[in-house]
Amino acid sequence: MKNSQESGVRSQEFKPFNQLPIAYCLIISLFTIHFSLFAAYASDDFRKRKPQTEETFGEVDDIKAEVIFGRELAARIVGKYGLYEDKNLTRYINLVGKSVSQYANRPEIEFRFAVLNTDMVNAFAAPGGYVFVTNGALKAMEDEAELAAVLAHEVAHVAERHIVKELNIKGSEESPTTGLARMMGGGTDVMRGVFTEMVDRAVEILFEKGLKKQDEMDSDSIATMAITNAGYDPTALKRYLTKISGGEKYTMTIVETHPSFNDRIKGLDAVLAENQLTDKKQSIVKERFNENVKIK
């Protein structure tokens, strides 16, 4: 028999916690009463660990959510094609882009422009003001007006929140269940499964599906008005689209929702005619373009 003697002795010992339910209640009550007397002075923010303090959509407004999302999407775009490293060209692109973005009516957003290192003829925009043009597209351009038109078209996508609306990107409290704030709520590093999925969908829109036809047409219209207001040739976007329409094989394959070049050109004709801009002569700035855009 094991420990029979010891156990016999111990069975007589005082056991302060034999009445456990009472002990639990007493201790809880004492602590509750005692500590509830303390003023609530301390925040529990110190409990947040480093990954939890990383910027997320948890407690941000819609604009910041848009920027955070766009930053992630921009990283995907850069990751796919890489940046064309030319400081002078990048500076020039930003100067032109910022000049047309002044007409975007989104002063809360800081637009950033960069060149992607691919011969593909295209341009992209991510929410939050991240705009990219490919060096293939730059090669196809002949003057600054065309560059301004392409950048203005992408700026219009950002200004009109086309992707933001498509994916219902919102900030915190007002978001529906599908809103990113709820997906990211609280800001932990591990809340981003749905966020990643949303970025994936945005990538799919940019690289495969394309935006809605009406979004493209609207952006063309807005871009034409923007470059006109900036002093550029109003027909620059039409000229550019006409030029690259014959080389569509060099652009990405955009499927059913994307309008054809012909549709877009027709749309631009209508915009120009409606605003009496068809024959309006404004600057094309060819020399400065050639001086700064020297894609090999």
Binding site: S7, G8, L20, I27, F31, T32, Y41, S43, K48, P51
Partner: protein, 451 residues
């Protein structure tokens, strides 16, 4: 009633003989005795309280988590902490591989006897959701487990014939044993803030333990005789384990935690069936016995106090001290074949365990954790001149883990190692004491997801 009395018919072959031979055969009997000790101790280690570190972050920090507990592991360590869990919903799961090894020295003709256990299983899952003013959770934990699958054969062990006192040789000693022993805790939790500095919470675990032992042993001696023993044992145990916790913030960057818990067993079904044939049975039928009981074990009250210091968002230091009260119980067994009864008293001493842990984030994507912990025996140190003393091994361990955070989840790899040396009495009725070494190793992988 002593073990030797109860087994007098069964183990008559070993009575009154030389200590050495008796020791050898009683070594066998100590493994196979139809006594409660077989099912109440030694295996899924009832002699210690801190056998498996549970949880994702907690396991890496040596279990020093009572004052942190702000994720699903808190449901197990301190439910009051889950109110600080970030995000709306938070789930985590842990899969662990556990390896345990115990070596008794100089017990089989100068040979050591080694026992090993290993198993891989999901040992924790927890989920937290907001509910009203507080947070509700559900968790599942395996705080102790063992899967022992032994196939051992020893040859040419010197001995003495119990009937003649003359030397003989045990030509072959075969031990085949399969022992599975799992303890499960599962149940809901709720926690709420009393004010900005204080929260309280409770977890109500259902305790379920399931053990099954199958053992077959054969001793062949050089004159052609043999001894054989076959054992089948089972234990099913149900109970409840309430955990009451609180978390207090006495100052900025400092957290204190307190938990009280106790396991109440409400239903036990314990059965041991033995079939034994002694060396001198000749053509007689082997002895057959079945011992049964539904008496419940007594568990200690556990009180844990923890402190944590959060000097920055990159560093966390914590420490826990756990007190386990003494707990005694007596179990009465009934032999359903002979009608005999047997009582066994088990005493568990007051025990104290300490754990310290640290967590460091070199970047936003990586976390390293480390911890030190003790796992002290709840038995007294062995005294010379006494028999039937339970083994005493104080263990000390360390743990490490690394977590990689991704956009969608966090993944943690880690492990803990503990070791200790102590003493045991393997041989029933003998006052001899054997040295024993014990080592535990656990490797775990866990994932957490919040949404």
């Amino acid at each position: 009633m002593s073990k030797s009395n109860k087994t007098s018919g069964q183990w008559s072959v070993v009575s009154g003989q030389s200590v050495r031979f008796k020791a050898i055969l009683l070594f066998i009997s100590s493994l196979l005795t139809p006594h409660s000790s077989l099912l109440t101790e030694v295996r899924a280690d009832d002699l210690h309280y801190n056998n498996i570190l549970v949880g994702e972050r907690a396991a890496g920090m040596g279990g020093a988590y009572t004052a942190v507990s702000d994720d699903p592991s808190g449901l197990y360590y301190n439910p009051a902490g889950i109110v600080f869990a970030p995000g709306r919903s938070f789930s985590a799961s842990v899969n662990a591989f556990q390896y345990s090894q115990k070596e008794y020295k100089d017990v089989l003709g100068g040979n050591g006897w080694e026992r090993r256990s290993s198993n891989l299983q999901p040992n924790y899952f927890g989920i937290i959701q907001p509910l009203g003013e507080g947070k509700v959770g559900f968790s599942y934990a395996v705080p102790d487990s063992r899967l022992e699958d032994q196939d051992q054969t020893f040859y040419n062990i010197p001995g003495i014939d119990p009937s003649t006192g003359l030397p003989l040789t045990i030509t072959r000693y075969v031990i085949n044993m399969n022992d599975t022993d799992y303890t499960y805790n599962f149940g809901p939790s709720y926690a709420m803030k009393i004010n900005d500095n204080l929260s309280v919470g409770t977890t109500l675990y259902v305790h379920y333990r399931d053990r099954e032992l199958i053992s077959n042993q054969l001793v062949s001696v050089n004159d052609g005789r043999y001894e054989w023993n076959n054992v089948y044992g089972s234990l099913t145990e149900w109970g409840i384990k309430p955990i009451v916790g609180m978390m207090w913030t006495p100052a900025d960057k400092v957290s204190l935690g307190l938990t009280l818990s106790k396991n109440y067993i409400v239903d036990t079904d314990r059965r041991l069936q033995t079939t034994y044939r002694g060396l001198d049975y000749g053509s007689n039928e082997p002895a057959y016995n079945v011992w049964e009981t539904d008496d419940n074990r007594e568990f200690p009250l556990t009180a844990t106090i923890g402190a944590a210091y959060f000097p920055s968002e990159s560093l966390l230091l914590s420490a826990d001290v756990s007190y386990y009260s003494n707990a005694d119980h007596t179990i009465t067994y009934k032999n359903t074949v002979t009608g005999a009864t047997s009582k066994e008293s088990v005493s568990q001493e007051e025990t104290l365990n300490v754990a310290v842990g640290a967590e460091y984030y070199p970047t936003e994507r990586i976390a390293f954790r480390g911890g030190l912990f003790s796992n002290m025996a709840n038995t007294p140190e062995l005294s010379s001149g006494k028999a039937e003393q339970r083994e005493h091994i104080d263990m000390y361990g360390a743990s490490l883990s690394i977590t990689r955070f991704t956009r969608a989840s966090s993944l943690t790899l880690g492990g803990s190692y503990s070791m200790g040396s102590g003493e045991a009495q393997l041989f029933s009725g003998s006052t001899s004491i054997q040295d024993v070494d014990m080592r535990n190793f656990t490797a775990f992988i866990s994932a957490a997801f919040s949404y």
